[in-house]
Symmetry: C2
Subunit: 307 residues, 2 copies
């Protein structure tokens, strides 16, 4: 149970998720058992609908992620990753400390062999109606070209298997359409992506076309740039909400509808929720986790990086 509104929002979101997940899926709740039971009761939801794993500690936002992950061994995040690493659960999602979630991803479930750097991604809405996948959105801020090229393959596999986009168009975010444009990092990544036969590389995509859907389904960029794009979109969404500018396209920008940020390239499905996740956001985060599990994403990524 993590996030700014934990455990209420998390439990309520889990209750909402019951309606959307498959009958064969089971939600395991990690957290303060008494609190979880109290909230479930007030929601009128039988506790048998969930598995509850009682934990007693909480990793706070102010804690040092790596230290807290170790020292708070009975926190929901540390216990959850333990379950994930030994295969007792098939995927793990939390709106708690992003840093601790990353520590768990890197040190408990570990990167897939062959993946230089795992990545966090985000789906963004496009005017065309179907989402685009942006990666990296903040984990790796000084990406080597080889890392960006791997993101093209990782993103393509995710877009196809989880988002259901057939033969997704992969592009690298750049400051011009022409091949010779860009900084040294992106120019080199462009060459590597062009040489990758397993993806449909369409070249460069400019900032103006991230949300148009006209150029690319998978947009590869350095984490510094991707994080800026994502936060700028969030900021403009909030501005529009405050100004009462309404449109379904902008509603789709709402992080609540996005369902969290998958960590890609590690040995199990991990989804990181927004710190200020509402029950709706938690529900969508759980649904995303189920989708990633059912798509067999981890196995597909492992096979892709086997050579």
């Amino acid at each position: 149970m993590g996030g700014d509104f934990a455990p209420e929002a998390a439990v309520k979101g889990a209750v909402m998720a019951l309606e959307t997940i498959g009958a064969e899926s089971r939600i395991v709740l990690f957290g303060d058992e008494r609190q979880i039971r109290t909230i479930l009761e007030s929601e009128g939801c039988p506790t048998e609908r969930f598995d509850i794993v009682a934990t007693t500690e909480v990793i706070e936002m102010g804690d040092h992620p790596a230290k807290a992950f170790q020292s708070k061994a009975d926190s929901s995040i540390t216990v959850g990753f333990g379950y994930l690493a030994k295969g007792a659960i098939d995927g793990f999602a939390s709106a708690g400390s992003t840093g601790a979630m990353m520590v768990g991803s890197m040190y408990a479930v570990k990167p897939i062999e062959g993946v230089i750097r795992p990545t966090i991604s985000s789906t963004v809405p496009t005017v065309s109606g179907r989402p685009a996948l942006l990666l990296d959105v903040g984990l790796n801020v000084d990406c080597r070209p080889e890392v960006l090229a791997q993101y093209g393959l990782i993103g393509s596999i995710y877009a196809e298997s989880v988002l259901g986009i057939e033969n997704p168009r992969v592009a690298v975010l750049n400051i011009g359409e022409e091949e010779a444009k860009g900084n040294a990092q992106v120019k080199a990544a462009h060459e590597l992506l062009k040489a990758e036969p397993r993806i449909r590389f369409v070249g460069n995509v400019e900032g103006s076309h991230i949300f148009s859907g006209k150029v690319a389904d998978v947009i590869v960029c350095d984490g510094f740039v991707g994080n800026t794009v994502l936060k700028m979109a969030e900021g403009l969404y909030r501005i529009n909400r405050a100004l009462e500018v309404k449109h379904p396209f902008w509603s789709a920008m709402n992080y609540e509808n996005v369902g969290g940020t998958p960590v890609l390239g590690v040995n199990a499905p991990v989804i990181i929720g927004h710190g200020c996740s509402t029950p709706l956001a938690i529900k969508n985060m759980i649904r995303s986790t189920e989708q990633v599990i059912k798509a067999g994403l981890t196995e597909k990524l492992r096979r892709a990086f086997q050579n």
Copy 2:
């Protein structure tokens, strides 16, 4: 006379600008004299209101900027920069070839001594009502930290003297508010900016606050990131226009209202207009040029970099 709709849009915009510029200001038109006179006539505008410098060549968008700047010696851009370099005009603006405009800025009027890399900037609207200045927006895509630090000073002087923002807040675009965040380039720039006594450095600004106006008046970033931010804003503006999402905040995003991109750090005022400038955009570009001239920006920048 440059731009996709030249010379009509340029001449019409110049006619519109007559109403907004000071009585002591004089607009000089460089281009095909017969065409200029024909358009002025059809606009019912006496030719005496302008100085006309007849040129016979045009640098096309497909031309190699540096080569064309030299070989097409009688193009409006090359002749205009000649006038600017010898002081026959006080500032120069064009919506023609951006590349040729940069060649003229760097080789005809030249960088101010002490400026490592001149920069192109853009004002962006904020919800607070006053604009923010973003730089660099695409000229330098692999900025050394020292270059970013200079942009803080250049931007601060521009915001104060041209935009009229007293004691402007200068921030570096980063992926977190905390000082330790960011890539190697931005962390080093942060230290240098903090040590610059002539600016009011407020630390990091995240993508979410570029348009809020809550954190910074001057936002320093690498040209790759700044260009992405600017193009993303343009793309979202166009999406909103297509979706008929209307609000004054979004109207302010329209490049037509921005008035071009000043080249900062060179020995004379140069403003580059959007290729697809309309008469309104040209009018605003001319007005911006007058503002930069009247603010004595070049002299202020020269003094700042004297030591």
